[in-house]
């Protein structure tokens, strides 16, 4: 076995603004054999991206490579001069960045950027490079391979950009490709398509790769060998199969456990009195952005005819991919965005569209927790002021009583009392999200709108926040509207689930009902797209609906066809594209927006499973292994 990459005792040091130096990569040694893919796994701050970048002799500003050696194909990378390093970058080693949307220069065409490394290193003529790029676009299953190069980055979707970034890395036929979290920013249904095309390209070209990720399930599909990192040191290094089935290191085991969420001890929905009015009733909601047109609809309609009922003490999970309108729904309920049509009723009373016109009591009862605690918390206020302000505003609490209540809130979210004097910038991501939650709890609400509250967190931290949410709900009799793009998260804490697609409710039902076939074709795609923690899952998967093609966004707003038509594996031509589907009640108790009959859906989904050669109960990742 010949080694292409050999890293020995690599050390990288970060220098803070005050001049203090902290090691962020400590004595790392590993090797990558030719034609194999090695994964670097870890949470944020584990040093995985820093290690990957140092393979190109590159350190981000504020960091420097302090010691060790990196040999790639016999070249000692760290001893090269700056211009020699530039000759290796993009030629021998190439890089696929986490966010392709940011890694593409908005001012240049895609083609000029894809072939740039071939031009810089004078590998071929421009015409040959462009021909080769088109070939790569085709291999990566991009729509319109001839035309996509002439476009600008903002004109193509995120999933396509990520594949274009792969083409950009492969154009120079490098010896080593570094994949830095290339699918993290994508929706699950898109991720699956991108992973599939990466995998086939890696296999066809016998590429040697270093794959950086925080997601064990994704890595299990692509890597031959996994290195688990924590705080810049290697915790465990073994073949993929062994890590997944026989992890030795306790930290690896905790990562595996967090990647595989089990439902926390779930109290059955608090028994609701039959006579008690619903907590929240949303009816025929229409909302969007931009000035209203002559038909009363906003310029961009984001939510269309969405309705649901939330009983006291129950939770509703809202899922869907980015742009489906789930955050807009939370903003409408909170009064941040007045709806263009429909009503929101809270405890039987119709709420005013804008928060400014709601009573203080209504405002207090409904609180919202935003995804990014970083931007939701004022960085110039200490925690006790962040929490004290709503206490004074809603309850008129002041002085010693306020201090006591702040301490109680911190206690509720399981933070130590001394946090009260800290500023948000001094807290970790998980701590910030807890403060963010405590701020909502300060109002003593009946309903909390959680907008992707765990999406920006590492898996282990996110699991702890979910546990906290479940506990708070039991103690304080709260209801949540829990918005997420992650079906497994929603299923661990919600009683009811609503699936949104392109601003329409395509399926809604109880958590249990959402686990049994048949599902709405989009829900089915979502379920089958969640990567599973076993090797070979991706290979065994049948054809999925895939991501949206070019220009399909315009189709979404049309009222005369099913919004999911262009991606649906079960569509009926000349029916689904000419009529909006009816709402159909299935025997298991869910409502779906679909033209297909129940029997037909069962048959079609069983067929999809059969071609996938995967177990039929695959719709239950998590449970099936418990």
């Amino acid at each position: 076995m010949t080694e292409l990459v050999k890293v020995e005792n690599l050390r990288v040091i970060a220098r803070s603004d005050s001049g203090r130096e902290t090691p962020i990569v400590r004595d790392i040694s590993f090797a990558v054999p030719r034609g194999k893919v090695v994964a670097l796994i870890g949470e944020s701050g584990s040093g995985k991206t820093t290690i990957a970048l140092s393979l190109m002799g590159y350190a981000r500003s504020g960091c420097r490579i302090a010691g060790g050696s990196i040999r790639i194909g016999g070249r000692d990378i760290l001893s090269l001069s700056a211009s020699e390093k530039a000759k290796v970058r993009g030629r021998n080693v190439s890089y696929i960045a986490q966010s392709a949307a940011a890694a593409f220069n908005p001012a240049k065409t895609i083609m000029s950027q894809v072939i740039e490394s071939a031009m810089i290193h004078r590998l071929t003529s421009r015409a040959e490079a462009e021909a080769k790029a088109v070939e790569l676009f085709r291999a990566l299953a991009l729509p319109d391979p001839e035309g996509v190069g002439a476009r600008y980055p903002h004109q193509v979707s995120g999933g396509q950009l990520q594949r274009l970034a792969a083409a950009m890395a492969l154009i120079s036929e490098p010896e080593l490709v570094i994949f830095d979290e290339p699918t993290t920013a994508l929706d699950v249904t898109t991720q699956i398509e991108v992973l599939r095309s990466f995998k086939s390209v890696i296999r066809d070209r016998n590429t040697t790769g270093v794959y950086v990720s925080h997601d064990l399930a994704v890595v299990a599909q692509i890597a031959d060998h996994i290195i688990v990192l924590r705080d810049g040191a290697i915790q465990e290094s073994a073949a993929t199969e062994q890590i997944l089935t026989d992890a030795r290191n306790p930290y690896t085991r905790s990562l595996l456990a967090a990647a595989n969420p089990t439902a926390p001890a779930q109290a059955a929905p608090l028994a609701a009195d039959a006579g008690e009015p619903p907590l929240l009733e949303v009816e025929a909601l229409v909302a969007g952005y931009g000035a209203a047109g002559s038909d009363g609809l906003p310029a961009v309609t984001v939510l269309n005819d969405v309705g649901f009922t939330l009983r006291p003490g129950t939770n509703l999970g809202v899922i869907g991919e980015s742009g489906c309108g789930k955050s807009t729904l939370a903003r409408v309920i909170a009064g941040l965005l007045p709806p263009a049509g429909g009503t929101v009723k809270f405890r039987g009373e119709t709420l005013a569209g804008s928060a400014a016109e709601r009573t203080k009591e209504q405002l207090r009862s409904i609180q919202i927790v935003f995804q990014m605690a970083d931007t939701a918390l004022n960085p110039t206020r200490p925690v006790d002021q962040i929490l004290g302000r709503p206490l004074t505003f809603y309850h008129g609490v002041k002085g010693a009583e306020r201090t006591r209540r702040v301490r109680r809130l911190l206690d509720l979210v399981q933070l130590p009392a001394h946090i009260a004097d800290r500023y948000p910038g001094e807290l970790s991501g998980g701590q910030k999200q807890r403060v963010n939650l405590a701020r909502a709890l300060a109002a003593e609400p009946a309903l909390i709108l959680c907008d992707e509250v765990t999406s920006a967190l590492d898996t282990v931290v996110a699991a702890a926040i979910l546990d906290l949410l479940a506990e708070l709900r039991r103690e304080l009799k709260l209801s949540y509207v829990f918005i997420s793009h992650d079906l497994s998260t929603v299923r661990t804490i919600c009683d009811d689930v609503m699936v949104l697609y392109a601003g329409r409710k395509v399926e809604a039902g109880s958590r249990a009902a959402m686990r049994s076939a048949p599902l709405h074709p989009y829900s089915d795609l979502l379920v089958s797209s969640i990567p599973e923690l076993r090797t070979g899952w991706l290979d065994g998967l049948g054809k999925t609906g895939g991501e949206m093609g070019l220009g399909s966004a315009a189709v979404l707003a049309r009222a005369d066809r099913c919004p999911f038509f262009s991606r649906c594996p079960s569509r009926i031509e000349s029916l689904c594209d000419t009529q909006m589907p009816p709402v159909r009640r299935l025997a298991k108790g869910t409502d779906i927006l679909c033209h297909q009959s129940e029997a037909e859906l069962i048959r079609l989904q069983a067929d999809l499973r059969a071609t996938a050669a995967a177990p039929l109960d695959r719709s239950l990742p998590g449970e099936s292994r418990q």
Binding site: L53, M56, Y58, R60, S61, S83, A86, K87, V88, R89, G90, R91, S94, Y95, A97, S99, A102, A103, F104, N105, P106, A107, K108, E116, S117, I120, H121, R151, Y152, H154, Q155, M168
Partner: protein
């Protein structure tokens, strides 16, 4: 050029015209509020009330303010800004030659300072933190802190009085050749360039550094691009908007704010004309000069905005 862009540009031009109208109203009201009666000033202390009243009527001063505003605005639009109250010469004639002089000085200064400032700003950003960058940053800070009258006076003392290389006074009228032009303009242009370059250098450096930190520039470096390519091909096209704004704001100073330099070099420009107008309460002259300054300022800022719109690929390629 697509629809969105044409619409945005048309909207910018519309805003510019509206601003100009509001400014004209503000200028008119402000000059109305200046104390003193022009007729009395013109005729002197010994004037009889009848003479003053006659002159007021002849000057339209007895008509209500809104009517005078509309008369004045109509005159401006048709190219007739009125007659100087002080010496009965049409304002257009008074301003005509002076405006040409001012535009010439501004043009020469811009042609000289913009390329130098942009080059310094971009190169300082490229070698950020190195000795070169520190020297450029230090010198621009020094230059921006020294008042222009000091730079101008020092220049006169050294180059005109001591060395006798350059003329101390600048009369643009007697320029016959290019060499003479350079000699005449050298000192005012250098003094003005000192003032306006510092801001352009600092803003250009900041704008380029900002884009240099973006992931797509890091990606270019990881593709093997050298420093020059990363800056010129990747960072610069995305920094055009802020740079155009910095340039426009700096250049806008060249028309209205050059009074000190015009005074020291006795340069017959429009700023000096306006100050003289204020001293003699010559309303039509003041109003017209103020409108010219506002107009040129708006033209520059709007041009910068249009540059930013046109350089944005999201708007250019819908």
């Amino acid at each position: 050029m697509n629809n969105t862009m044409s619409r945005l540009i048309a909207a910018r031009l519309g805003v510019m015209l509206l601003t100009l109208l509001i400014v004209s109203l503000a200028v008119f009201v402000a000059t109305e509020m200046l104390p003193g009666d022009v007729a009395e000033i013109v005729l002197g202390q010994s004037a009889t009330p009848e003479a003053v009243a006659g002159l007021r009527e002849a000057m339209n001063l007895d008509r209500p303010a809104p009517v005078r505003y509309l008369l004045w605005l109509g005159g401006l639009l048709t190219g007739d800004p009125g007659v100087s109250l002080v010496n009965n010469i049409p304002v257009a004639t008074l301003i005509g030659g002076r405006l040409g002089n001012s535009l010439l000085l501004a043009g020469v200064t811009a042609a000289f300072s913009v390329p130098i400032a942009l080059t310094l700003g971009i190169t300082a950003a490229m070698w950020r933190g190195r000795l070169y960058d520190r020297i450029v940053s230090f010198v621009t800070i020094c230059v921006v802190s020294v008042p222009e009258f000091m730079v101008a006076t020092l220049a006169v003392m050294i180059f005109a009085v001591q060395l006798r290389w350059l003329p101390a006074l600048s009369f643009a009228n007697d320029v016959q050749s290019l060499g003479e032009l350079l000699r005449v303009f050298a000192m005012p242009v250098i003094s003005l360039s000192f003032v306006i370059s510092a801001q352009m250098i600092r803003m250009t450096r900041a704008a380029v550094i900002d884009t240099l930190q973006s992931p797509y520039v890091e990606m270019a470096v990881l593709k093997g691009a050298g420093q020059t390519r990363a800056v010129l091909a990747h960072a610069l096209p995305n920094a055009i908007g802020p740079i155009a704004n910095a340039v426009a704001l700096s250049l806008s100073y060249l028309l209205g704010g050059v009074i000190i330099v015009e005074t020291i070099f006795n340069y017959p420009g429009i700023a000096k004309l306006m100050v003289d107008g204020v001293a003699t309460r010559d309303m039509p002259l003041i109003q017209t000069c103020a409108m010219i300054f506002c107009f040129s300022y708006l033209v520059l800022v709007t041009t910068a905005d249009i540059c930013a719109i046109v350089s944005n690929p999201r708007l250019r390629h819908k």
